[in-house]
C-alpha cells in the first residue's frame, strides 16, 4: 500500500539522510548547552563506560518516580567485578579492541543467573549485556560476524539509502522526547537513533524498520555509542531471536500470542480477561515490540533486559515477564470492567518494587521450564511405551 516509486524513495532517502548528516561530533552537541552539574543524566554515549561513569538514568522520560535500583548486596558492584564473566576489570567498552570475555562456564551460570536476577549494577550493565550476547554469538552454530566486522558493515550502511528512511524520520523525533539526549531535531541523540535504525533496516532487509524498534535503540544508546548500539541490536535480533517479532505479517508474533493466550486461559485472571473479551494481543503487541519500554518505568525495564540479555530462551522469558506483570495488576484487574481493564493494560504499569517483580518473573520462568521438561519427558516416555 505504501510502496512508493523507487526514484521518489531514493530522493526522499537522500533528503532525510542529508538532514541527519551533520559533522560527526558523537552527539556531544547535546551537552554543550547544559550545566552538567545540575542535571541527573545518563553518560554521553560515546564515553567509555567505566564503573561510575553512567549515573542513574532518571532523565529518561518515563512518568512516575524513579527510586534508585535496589541491589540487595551493598557490594554488588564489587561482586560483579569478581564475576566469572570478566577476565579483567574494569572493562572499557566500547573501544578499538574490545575486551575479551570468556564464554560463560556452565558451573557459574547458576550463580550468574542468581546475581542477574538481583539486578546488574548500572555501571556494569553495558559490559555485562555485551558479554552475555557475545558469549551467545561465539557459541552460535551459525557463523556470526565479529564486532569489528559489524562495525565495518555499519559504516557501509550509513552511506546506503534505505526505503525505510522516511518512516524512521517520522518516528525519531517522537522517541523518548523528554530525554536530554534526544531533544535536538536532526542532531545529537536523534542523529544516532536515525543512523542505527537506518542501518538495522539494511542489515535485516526482510524485516526492515518496524515501529517499536526505536525504543530498543534509544535504550541501547543510553549505554553504548552508535556502532556498539548497532552491534548490540544485531546480536539481540540474532542471538535472542528478536527479529521474529517484527517479521512481515507478524506470523510469529501471532503464534506467540496464541501460546500466551492458551497459558493464561488456564488461570483465573485469564478467565476474567477472556470474559471481558480482552485478548492478549491487545496489550502484548506494545509490551513485546518495545521490549517493555512503553509498559514499565525505565528502571524496571532495565531489570527485565538484564535477564533477557543473559538467557537464551526469549519466548519463555517474554511469557514469564508478561505473566509477572499481569500478576502485579491482578488485584486491580479482577474487579475491573472492560474499560478499566483496558486502561490498566494499555498504560505504563507503575512498579513499586522491582525486586518483587523480578522474583515473580523467576517463579513464572521456573514454572514454564519445568512444564516444558515435563512435556519432553512425557513424550519420551510415550515413545518408550510404544516401542
Amino acid at each position: 500500500m505504501d510502496e512508493p516509486r523507487s526514484d521518489s524513495v531514493q530522493d526522499a532517502s537522500l533528503r532525510v539522510r542529508s538532514a541527519y548528516s551533520q559533522p560527526d561530533s558523537g552527539a556531544l552537541e547535546d551537552w554543550q548547552d547544559l550545566d552538567l552539574a545540575h542535571i541527573d543524566r545518563c553518560g554521553p554515549p560515546n564515553l567509555h563506560l567505566t564503573p561510575g561513569t553512567a549515573s542513574t538514568r532518571t532523565a529518561f522520560s518515563s512518568p512516575g518516580s524513579h527510586p534508585p535500583a535496589k541491589h540487595s548486596a551493598p557490594s554488588s558492584g564489587q561482586q560483579w567485578q569478581s564475576s566469572p564473566t570478566q577476565t579483567q576489570a574494569p572493562p572499557t567498552f566500547p573501544s578499538q579492541n574490545p575486551p575479551k570475555y570468556l564464554p560463560l562456564p556452565c558451573i557459574c551460570l547458576l550463580l550468574l543467573t542468581h546475581r542477574t536476577f538481583k539486578g546488574i549494577p548500572d555501571c556494569w550493565r553495558a559490559s555485562a549485556w555485551h558479554a552475555f550476547l557475545s558469549a551467545s554469538a561465539s557459541a552460535s552454530a551459525h557463523n556470526r560476524k565479529s564486532d569489528a566486522e559489524l562495525a565495518c558493515l555499519y559504516k557501509v550502511y550509513i552511506a546506503t539509502p534505505s526505503i525505510y528512511d522516511v518512516q524512521i524520520d517520522l518516528d525519531v523525533p517522537r522517541t523518548v522526547q523528554g530525554h536530554v539526549l534526544f531533544r535536538h531535531r536532526y542532531s545529537g541523540g536523534q542523529r544516532l537513533l536515525f543512523q542505527v535504525l537506518h542501518s538495522i533496516s539494511l542489515m535485516f532487509p526482510h524485516i526492515g524498520y518496524v515501529q517499536g524498534m526505536a525504543s530498543l535503540v534509544a535504550t541501547l544508546l543510553c549505554y553504548y555509542n552508535e556502532e556498539s548500539a548497532f552491534i548490540m541490536l544485531v546480536r539481540m535480533f540474532q542471538e535472542r531471536h528478536l527479529d521474529r517479532l517484527y517479521e512481515p505479517g507478524f506470523t510469529s508474533l501471532k503464534s506467540i500470542f496464541e501460546d500466551f493466550n492458551s497459558k493464561l486461559s488456564t488461570r483465573k485472571l485469564g478467565k476474567i480477561l477472556n470474559s471481558l473479551g480482552i485478548h492478549p494481543s491487545i496489550y502484548l503487541t506494545t509490551w513485546y515490540l518495545t521490549l517493555f519500554n512503553y509498559s514499565v518505568p525505565f528502571h524496571t525495564q532495565l531489570r527485565m533486559w538484564d535477564i533477557f540479555m543473559l538467557l537464551d530462551d526469549p519466548d519463555s522469558l517474554l511469557q514469564a515477564t508478561s505473566l509477572a506483570l499481569l500478576h502485579s495488576l491482578k488485584h486491580q484487574l479482577v474487579n475491573a470492567d472492560f474499560e478499566r481493564a483496558m486502561d490498566l493494560l494499555s498504560k505504563r504499569v507503575l512498579i513499586e518494587n522491582d525486586d518483587v517483580l523480578m522474583r515473580r518473573v523467576k517463579i513464572e520462568l521456573n514454572a514454564i521450564e519445568s512444564e516444558s521438561i515435563r512435556r519432553k519427558f512425557a513424550i519420551r516416555f510415550d515413545r518408550l511405551r510404544e516401542s
Binding site: V210, Q211, A214, F250
Partner: protein
Amino acid sequence: MRADTHDIPTLKVLLVGNSNVGKTAIFERFVDDFYDPETTTATIGVDFRSKIVEVRDTKVKLNIWDTAGQERFRSLTSSYFRNALGALIVFDLSVYETFEQLPLWFRELRTYSSDQQVATVVVGAKLDKVGSRVVNRSEGMAMADKNGAGYIEVSAKTGVGVVEAFEMLIGRIMDTPALWKDGDVLARTDSVVAVDQVEEGTRYCGC
C-alpha cells in the same frame, strides 16, 4: 462509570490513517482535553480509551480504538476493525501523501469491518500549521463526498474541531438506519476479536 452506564449504548469507533498524521493527538485531545507535543510517541498496535458523550440529547459511550499507522501493522490492527460502527479517517493537511492514501483506508475499512456500512468522517489534521497546508478544503470535501463520508478539519494543538469531529461521526452513525434503529445501536459491542480467530457471526461483548 459503573452500573449507571450500562444502559448507555456503546459505540465502537476507530481512528485510522497514515503514520504521524496525528491520530493519537486527536484521541488525547478528545478524551482528556490534553495536548503535549513533548510526550507524543508512535502507537504500537492499538490504544484504547472510552468516553461518554451526549449527542442530540442522547448519551452514548464511545469506545475509541486508536490504531498504529505504519503499513506493517495493518495485519494486526485490521482485526480490531470488526464490529466498528464508525471511523475517523485522519490525514495530515500538510502532507499530500497522507491525503492520497485515503481511498486505500476506505477500502481497508470495507474489507475488514464486519458491517459493510461503517459511518466515516474524513479528518484533515494539523489545521494550525497554516503556512504548510497543501490540501485545500474543497479537495478534501470532494474526496469525502466521493466516499460517502463527512469532512472536517481539526487541530489537536488548539482543540479546534476535535469534539465536532466525533460528534459528526456519532451523528452519522445515528443517521445510518442499518447501524442505529429505534434510538439504540444494533451492534452494542466492544468486540475484541482475537487475532486470526475471526469467525463469521462471532461477537464478543465487552460491556
